[in-house]
Symmetry: C2
Subunit: 648 residues, 2 copies
């Protein structure tokens, strides 16, 4: 740690999740998603789009005949699967799974070239063209994902082979790229290696990886532009659009103040930048990250934590342009936002980061996976009218039902690695204690104030706002426990061993965290009460698409109306915000969810005229509305859905 960085992550092995909401999802990853995705990578899912990923590695290893198939970044699907396995093994060793992973790692090793290079697309399909199109070909992106997988698997198992493959590749990359003569001053069109190299540095202690990461970040967007130069070397006939904002390479990163271009690329880059700011104590770079953070979270983020509002180029557009029905809000982008937020939070514990993690986790990220773990959304709209989605070309990216797999299958393994590594996002440690960021039932073991301490969290989150933290140092010790008071909660209450702690006065709370410093005895109990009222959320008046509409939120969970509960033509519905909301937990429905019942209005049945335009308002009739958590939508067949409801 340096002056900039105030907290540290806690190793995944040290956090054990036992949570009513998340444990079943982690089991789903272990029991269903990892095997399912392995089958997908091996093309064994009937009706799903082909993957060919494992076969590409076999061909690259010379063990199978055939041609490469898939996206240029198909290798990364395997890496994300392997990373998920690594996280899973950190939670719980599993001989059979480990054997499968070891065999896969061995296959990857056999597909690696002698000089350390590893990429089945170029090895099989374009052996002479390595590193000739950094802008488009994702070589360093794939390298990054493999490095992340290697670090995770090594951390879980202690096995060196995978790390050796990664280091050999990273060393090779270090020989190709850099400021020296005969090196390429390039960087990848899709950021990812930057954050991966920081992980490899931390796993190995080898500072050259950190420096290589810094090199990639600092080169980005510099003039003369590397993407121009490599394009000229390729002698392409029609030079492409050279604005490069799509790649976050329109300006040197320190001059970027708004989030532009492809949203996943953006947040992966910003994550790497935050890492470097922390490692180098680079206040200027951190300030850039903060400006970008404000732009994203105060101008360009959906209420679900979705980002990137344009299907074309999967990109950011302009401030406040957040259409609900044409939201792109790629699942991967919300995941990347969580990666970035967690890094910002570790540097500087401020609840605005943890609040955004929570917002994405319980909404736009979790919506990416079906309740059974076998189908996925790539795009997460906030409103769906299936008729329009199925007939309007400008909505063709919006799917009304989750898909079993994708030709571009970045999202499914990204969700599974996030869920498997969820333990990383709950706590962090500081010089003087422990931070509790997320409310997820779990036990963390950590040395705090020189004393081995166990903290156990129990909670009914996200359905109930009661959180109990039992602090158990080996022996009595003085340190601080800082608990986040979520931004959505208006009247949090905190007690320690039954005695109330003031969280309302000035100084009692810093950046949204109530910091309790005292001598902790084994078994001391912190009780945090976060009353979960049904909140009527109002959009900023500049979000044109939401004008006149409200959304319902309870705790961290954003709600939506679905046709299954409320009939069709949901835009016609208005919600009475002055009336009473009834909160009802249904343990069976949608895997167990809390519902909100509300009153509203709708055009009386058959009252609509045959005319398109009249001067008479048709009579309206009172209706009872049922809202379900947004993340659970589209688990009951195709139908309309909407988050932002017109206010009566």
């Amino acid at each position: 740690m340096n002056d900039l960085k105030k907290t540290d992550a806690i190793a995944l092995q040290n956090v054990n999740i036992h949570d009513g909401f998340w444990s079943k999802r982690q089991r789903l990853v272990r029991d269903v998603v990892i095997p399912y995705q392995w089958d997908a990578l091996n093309d064994r899912i009937p009706g799903a789009e082909p993957s060919h990923t494992i076969e590409n590695f076999r061909i690259a290893a010379g063990e199978s005949e055939g041609s490469y198939y898939g996206m240029v970044f198909q290798d990364s699907d395997l890496s994300k699967w392997l990373e998920t396995v690594g996280f899973q093994l950190s939670l719980q060793r599993d001989e059979q799974l480990e054997r499968l992973a070891d065999e896969t790692i061995a296959l990857i090793g056999r597909a690696q070239r002698e000089d350390g290079y590893l990429n089945t697309y170029f090895t099989v399909k374009k052996p002479g063209e390595r590193w000739t199109n950094l802008r488009d070909d994702h070589e360093l992106y794939c390298a990054g994902h493999f490095i992340e997988a290697a670090v995770a698997y090594h951390e879980a198992t202690g096995k060196r082979q995978v790390l050796d493959i990664a280091c050999a590749f990273a060393d090779h990359i270090g020989n190709v790229f850099g400021p020296g003569p005969d090196r390429l001053r390039g960087y990848d069109g899709h950021p990812e290696i930057e954050l991966a190299l920081v992980k490899l540095y931390k796993a190995t202690g080898s500072r050259s990886y950190l420096e290589l990461s810094k090199f990639f970040v600092e080169e980005r967007g510099r003039r003369p532009h590397f993407f121009d130069e490599e394009e000229e070397r390729r002698m392409v006939k029609r030079p492409t659009d050279r604005r490069y904002d799509y790649f976050q390479a329109h300006l040197p990163v320190r001059e970027q103040h708004t989030a532009e271009g492809h949203s996943v690329r953006a947040v992966y880059l910003y994550s790497g930048m935050a890492d470097l700011a922390a490692e180098y104590g680079d206040a200027e770079l951190l300030e850039v990250c903060r400006k970008l953070w404000h732009n994203v979270t105060r101008r360009r983020m959906y209420i679900t934590g979705g980002i990137g509002s344009s299907a074309h180029q999967e990109r950011f557009t302009v401030d406040y342009d957040l259409p609900a029905d044409r939201a792109y809000a790629e699942t991967c982008a919300s995941i990347g936002l969580v990666f970035w937020a967690q890094r910002m939070l570790e540097i500087d514990p401020d609840r605005e980061y943890a609040d955004v993690i929570e917002r994405a986790l319980y909404n736009g990220l979790l919506s990416g996976i079906s309740l059974d773990g076998k189908s996925y959304f790539y795009v997460n709209p906030l409103e769906v009218w299936p008729s329009a989605c199925n007939h309007r070309h400008d909505m063709k990216s919006v799917k009304t039902t989750r898909q079993p797999w994708f030709g571009c299958a970045c999202c499914p393994p990204n969700i599974s690695r996030l869920i498997a590594s969820l333990g990383r996002y709950i706590y962090s440690s500081s010089d003087d204690g422990l931070y509790v960021h997320q409310y997820i039932g779990s036990t963390v073991k950590q040395t705090v104030g020189g004393v081995q301490t166990e903290l156990t969290q129990t909670t009914g989150y996200p359905w109930h706002g009661q959180v109990t933290l039992t602090v158990s140092p080996e022996r009595a010790a003085e340190f601080a426990v800082a608990v986040r008071l979520p931004g959505w909660c208006k009247e949090p209450k905190l007690t320690v061993n039954g005695a109330e702690v003031d969280v309302s006065g000035a100084g009692a709370v810093s950046n949204g965290y109530a910091k309790i410093r005292r001598v902790w005895e084994p078994g001391d109990r912190i009780e945090l009460t976060l009353p979960m009222e049904v909140e009527v959320v109002r959009p900023n008046p500049h979000i044109r698409d939401c004008a006149g509409k409200v959304a319902l939120q309870r705790g961290p969970v954003v709600y939506c109306l679905e046709e299954a509960d409320n009939g069709s033509n949901l835009r016609d519905v208005t919600l009475s915000t002055g009336g009473e909301f009834i909160v009802e937990h249904d343990g069976e429905l949608l895997g167990g969810v809390t519902l909100i019942r509300a009153q509203g209005w709708q055009t009386a049945p058959d009252a609509a005229s045959e005319s398109l335009y009249t001067t008479e308002a048709p009579p309206r009739t009172a209706v009872s509305l049922t809202a379900i958590p947004y993340f659970a939508w589209a688990n009951r067949g195709e139908g309309e859905m909407l988050v932002w409801v017109r206010e009566a």
Copy 2:
């Protein structure tokens, strides 16, 4: 006339327009638009997209060297210009203009092949490939536009040359297409020739043209499918989408009950179908037209008379899918809708047709041309936020300012031919009298009940609803004058020579027309009073995009808010519909328009929070709103605009 057709058109020469609103627009066509578009066809407009149309004809005539340039249907731009000139000369002979047209016709004649074929694209670029791709190549479409031009020019001048060229081409087409052996059983992907051949039949009396039109209509959509067959003959490697609804060829026309596909193609086809229904007394075909009419006007039409709500394929989508900001509503489609409506109206005088003509004329059609006549909208959105239009790929077809010309320049000459021929849409004659459909100051001369009669209309329409009709038969005669009571008018009043005529009782009005049968003396006066209240128009509740919004209309004119008058972020504005509206005529603004002042609400300045989502509604403040006629928008620079305003 047969049993089906109740009225007849009146020749353009017999209607003289002298109108406060339209005469200046007709003069604009004569003085500015015809010369401007001639310059455009000759590539003399600096900064406009190239046309090359005249040059294509010179090359085809062997009088210039070079290659063909432009769309495959570029010839039609010249035909529409020539048709406009024909209409203009019907209004007023002009030696200089006639000389230019005659020279142009001579050039067209020299570009015609010996066998009668006429199409510069195929003559210059693909001489061996005539009639091999009817689906895509617009050969019959271009033929149709030339025939229309020829008929109009011949009607105006009596000169035969242009009609001879057209007949030679039509005869050639009749030798290529038809049911006989060695003939193609094909039809054009873009309907147009169907309605043109009916005009040629009427101009020449040659029934073969009518039969050829019927052939084209009846073949459409039959199985085995001609488009499949010609594609197979072309031996294309990847057969295209064979649903063919884009071309209205998915079903035989008599089985089509909903308007599908490209909207301009659709209404051109339906116009031809209505013509054939009338000429053949074909009640079944008329019933098909009526079903399609109901689908378009009761499910798929914007309040502006715009149709075709998808930029992709410029097409109809599904019922009630009418997004304001992504409206396509091509100018040509509204013009085609007028063509079709006029044919339906002549068959069966029912105000619903005349109301739609009026709706298109004063709104979505007229918006296609700037007040100075020199720039054009192809796409007519009902809401514009320039930021999104300029940055969202799914809105790239929406232009925020009118353009000087287009690569695909179908719309500008289509508007000018419509305005020049406006006299055709005002009256029609029936066995027992005269119908008055549109309120446009004008004089019509027509034999009615065997007596030469002049009817003079004076009106301040569309700003004032007072209409005076002076009926002047050569001598006293009994006949009927039927006047339309527009659908928008709740309490029309009618007097004849000062005596009130009851228009409220049953039987007094038939299909929206008050029919006054009496012995008319020269100088008899009908006074029609159509009180123009500011109407708050409410959308059908199934139009999802309009939910909670209203539009202002006064008389036939739909209003909009523009940023120039009301500031930005217009979606944030709500309109008080319970309050008073102030109507104000401004003789200077926008060429002279009546404004509506209204009260509304908007978020108080600087009251918006920095957060995207809050639970506090920001304070609102009362604002004065100014609405201008929709057709006049975008004449004061780039800015926001919207038609559908949230109701307070």
